[in-house]
């Protein structure tokens, strides 16, 4: 992407123009050329939104709850971005993204921007593009960014590394109290919401969660709070929002927020590196004429040794001679070529 093109896109995003904003998010989702540069350019304008994660099992009412939360936040004068993630098919690569059906009235509200997203191969309940999309929405000066995860089972906990405040949604009818003391999503909530409180069994879930918290060992972070809602009837949602706001205020004073933001940055850096290394590994192993598999079968090498060789090759090709992130542009040119020649027959 040319600099002029990128500048125009940054300008569109800063002015919250829907089409430009939407195209920028597509660029990030597609991991297209220019996406990295765009995110670098947006970086100074990020970090201003309260990022709220909403997670819970399929059908627990996350989208309906999100719809109600956004409406109440709008009534308070706040602007909101929503990222709604649904699963991508591991077979076709396609996805049916249906969260908007619960948020139809929000489509024409200029203070709200909703984007549906497939997981595209990520297994932690989010898409890799979530980090970048949060930044894009923050750069439009949204007060809140709500990230709704896919319907999760027990171990999709990436949201805990992304959100400032995590809301875990429970519903009656999904199992006994052993379910509530298992590891995974029950551990990551700052706020535990029993939704569909109008259904039988809601108060039982609530008391199970309470006794589970009483059993929990003392921790540094404040204990999670439990509350009941009926998103369908719009009951308890105002209390939930008050608690979300309160959580952030407390997190700011206790240092929890700084800790969470650090965790998000760390997760983002790890995600970028993992993606780049996976891509380069794939290229290395599919080079025409590569005989690594034959050598592996003959017992001349091992997967571990091959991995070490690829790793060395990556470091030499990409990073050697680069002092720090500021001198990344200064490519070591000829020297790089020399190294490549001397190492090209490693694989």
């Amino acid at each position: 992407m040319r600099t002029a093109e990128r500048d125009k896109m940054v300008e569109d995003i800063r002015a919250a123009r829907p089409a430009g904003l939407a195209r920028a998010i597509s660029l990030i989702e597609d991991e297209a050329e220019g996406a990295g540069g765009l995110l670098e350019a947006l970086h100074p304008h990020t970090g201003g939104a309260h990022v709220v994660g909403i997670t819970g099992p399929p059908g627990s009412g996350k989208s309906t709850l999100t719809d109600r939360i956004v409406k109440h936040l709008r009534a308070r004068g706040s602007t909101v971005g929503v990222i709604a993630v649904d699963p991508t098919s591991p077979f076709s690569g396609g996805a049916l993204l249906g969260d908007r059906t619960r948020m139809a009235d929000l489509a024409t509200d200029k203070g709200v921007f909703i984007r549906s997203m497939g997981t595209r191969g990520s297994l932690g309940g989010l898409s890799r593009a979530v980090y970048g999309t949060i930044k894009v929405l923050e750069a439009t000066e949204k007060d809140y960014v709500i990230v709704e995860t896919v319907g999760v089972g027990q171990s999709e906990v990436d949201i805990a590394r992304v959100a400032d405040t995590v809301v875990v949604v429970f519903v009656p009818g999904l199992g006994d109290d052993v379910q509530a003391i298992k590891a995974g999503i029950t551990e990551i909530g700052d706020l535990l919401v029993v939704n569909k409180a109008d259904l039988p069994g809601a108060s039982r879930i609530e008391s199970t969660l309470e006794s589970t918290l009483n059993l929990a060992p003392p921790r540094v972070e404040p204990a999670p709070k439990i509350l009941t809602t009926s998103a369908e009837r719009d009951e308890g949602v105002v209390d939930l929002i008050d608690m979300i706001v309160e959580h952030l205020a407390l997190a700011k004073t206790t240092g929890l927020l700084a800790c969470r933001r650090r965790m998000r940055a760390k997760a983002e850096i790890t995600a970028i590196l993992t993606r780049d290394i996976a891509k380069r590994t794939e290229i290395s192993l599919s080079e025409p004429g590569a005989d690594w598999y034959e050598r592996l079968q003959d017992g001349r090498t091992t997967p571990g040794a091959l991995a070490a060789t690829i790793w060395r090759k990556l470091v030499i090709e990409e990073y050697e001679g680069v002092e720090d992130e500021n001198s990344r542009e200064a490519s070591p040119g000829d020297r790089r070529g020399e190294h490549r020649r001397s190492h090209e027959d490693l694989l």
Partner: protein, 132 residues
């Protein structure tokens, strides 16, 4: 790994409550590898266009059984133009009489699929036009 996936918004404009056809098509498109955003029943033209822009879709698929297509479709196309999004391919299906098709296509609907169309016809048409 960097692939642009075809994104489609399936929408039901106006007042009709039957979305079986829309869901069958959405499911078939999902299996064809598209990312399908289903926006639900009883959508106004404004909601549809706004959702299409936010989702940066390549295609809008309108499903209509109420007979109000000559009233709702022109408005949708007009709003797309206002939003600088007339590059989005608009296709339609449902119960649309033969004699209305030419008029809708003149307005900018790329293709009207009538009852009995196979889902793969619609998918092939999109692939051909979007070229991915």
């Amino acid at each position: 790994m960097s692939e642009g996936r075809i994104r489609v918004l399936i929408a039901k404009p106006g007042l009709d409550g039957h979305d079986r056809g829309a869901k069958v098509l959405a499911r078939a498109m999902r299996d064809a590898g598209f990312e399908v955003i289903y926006s639900g029943l009883r959508q106004t033209p404004e909601q549809i266009v706004s959702a299409a822009v936010q989702e940066d879709v390549d295609v809008i698929g309108l499903s209509i059984l109420s007979g109000a297509h000559n009233h709702l479709f022109p408005r949708i196309l007009e709003l797309l133009e206002e939003a600088d999004a007339e590059d989005i391919l608009v296709i339609a299906g449902g119960v649309i009489p033969e004699e209305d098709i030419a008029g809708l296509e003149d307005l900018g609907v790329s293709r009207v699929f009538t009852p009995g169309t196979s889902t793969s016809d619609a998918i092939d048409f999109i692939r051909e036009r979007i070229g991915a």
